[in-house]
């Protein structure tokens, strides 16, 4: 069963989200095969969940001052700083899910897809586990700490799940860009998050590159879904032009990003 492997490199927030949606649309139309994509973000950017209020969550002035971009996702979930990380997105038709070994139930499908990441992390010598609904945690210095957040949507009969795996994390920087519910408690909140979040480089005590992580994640997904034949591919011309259109008409616009 053919599964396209896409490596679209480092692109802007709006471009990255536009590509995810363009690929979803083309798979739904039957023009593109199911796909697994790996990508990075340049410049660094915050993505917020579909249901979040942009102004409530993101300090837009601080982002501008730090040259950090922002975008609203089509998936739910929270605010994520995309810097020193690798993002994956997997696109699977619901009609093919069971043939691929992916349960149709939302929680179950999150778990199965995250298995790909767990197996990838195991190849780095790390023992991670999935915590419903959408987190992957690692045991590090006596506690389970989050290393990956994931978000899923289903549109036009396609399961799109994307997520990020942290290579390095700067919690102080993250909080300089995000707003918190209670400013007075910000210090405590930051300390709390530092305990509950980790990264591959913190866990392994060495620098871990995007490329190295991509390689193990690719193997992890291949191991998790043995029926799939991953073949390196490219975005089709239609996907490229659709992504360009979506970027210009949706993802760079306030009408989308500031809708809530």
């Amino acid at each position: 069963m053919k599964f396209r492997l896409l490596k679209t490199g480092f692109q802007s927030a709006a471009t990255n989200m536009a590509i995810d949606e363009a690929v979803l649309t083309e798979i739904a139309s039957g023009n593109s095969p199911p796909s697994l994509r790996f990508y990075g973000w340049t410049p660094p950017a915050i993505s917020i969940g579909y249901f979040q209020s942009l102004e409530e969550e993101v300090d837009l002035a601080a982002c501008a001052a730090h040259d950090v971009d922002y975008v609203r996702r089509i998936t739910g979930g929270g605010a994520v700083l995309h810097e020193h990380e690798i993002t994956y997105s997997i696109h699977i038709p619901e009609s093919a899910a069971s043939a691929f070994g992916i349960p149709l139930g939302i929680l179950e499908s999150y778990s199965k897809i995250c298995d790909g990441i767990l197996k990838g992390l195991a190849l780095l010598g790390l023992s991670a586990k999935f915590v419903p609904l959408n987190d992957i945690v690692l045991e590090h210095q006596g506690a389970f700490r989050k290393i990956s957040g994931n978000a899923q949507t289903r549109k036009n009969g396609i399961i799109l799940q994307h997520g990020t795996i942290l290579l390095k994390v700067d919690i102080d920087k993250m909080f300089s860009l995000l707003k918190v519910p209670n400013e007075k408690l910000k210090g405590k909140l930051i300390e709390d998050v530092k305990q509950r979040v980790t990264s591959l480089s913190a866990a392994l005590g060495r620098d871990v590159s995007f490329e190295e992580t991509l390689t193990v994640l690719q193997k992890g997904f291949a191991e998790t879904f043995p029926v799939l034949n991953f073949e390196s591919g490219e975005l089709s011309e239609t996907e490229k032009s659709l992504a360009e259109k979506l970027k210009k008409e949706k993802y760079v616009n306030d009408m989308w990003n500031r809708r809530r």
């Binding site: 579909y50 249901f51 979040q52 209020s53 979930g77 929270g78 978000a151 949507t153 289903r154």
Partner: protein, 90 residues
């Protein structure tokens, strides 16, 4: 805009923004890091709550009715938390 924030038990963070008048909802925004499927139904739910009386009973009934007519799945969110947070905001 009135606002209330609530950590849904075993769930995500819910933030309600509310405008009300004469004890009824004029407009409402249901925001947070939860998941809801299909996603567009959040806007439909917000529209369905316009005009609702700001009592636990009426809010709960309106949400229940909405869910019956417009199948929606919540993750990290629930009827009770919505009601509690809306009442807290008011």
């Amino acid at each position: 805009m009135k606002k209330a924030i609530y950590k849904v038990p075993n769930g995500k963070l819910l933030k309600i923004f509310l405008e009300d008048s004469d004890g009824k909802i004029s407009s409402i925004k249901i925001t947070g890091d939860f998941f809801l499927y299909p996603e567009e139904n959040v806007e439909k739910l917000e529209a369905a709550l316009a005009g609702a009386t700001l009592t636990k009973e009426d809010l709960s009934a309106k949400i229940t009715e909405f869910l019956k007519n417009t199948p929606t799945t919540f993750f990290g969110l629930d009827n009770e938390s919505l009601v509690t947070t809306i009442v807290n905001a008011a």
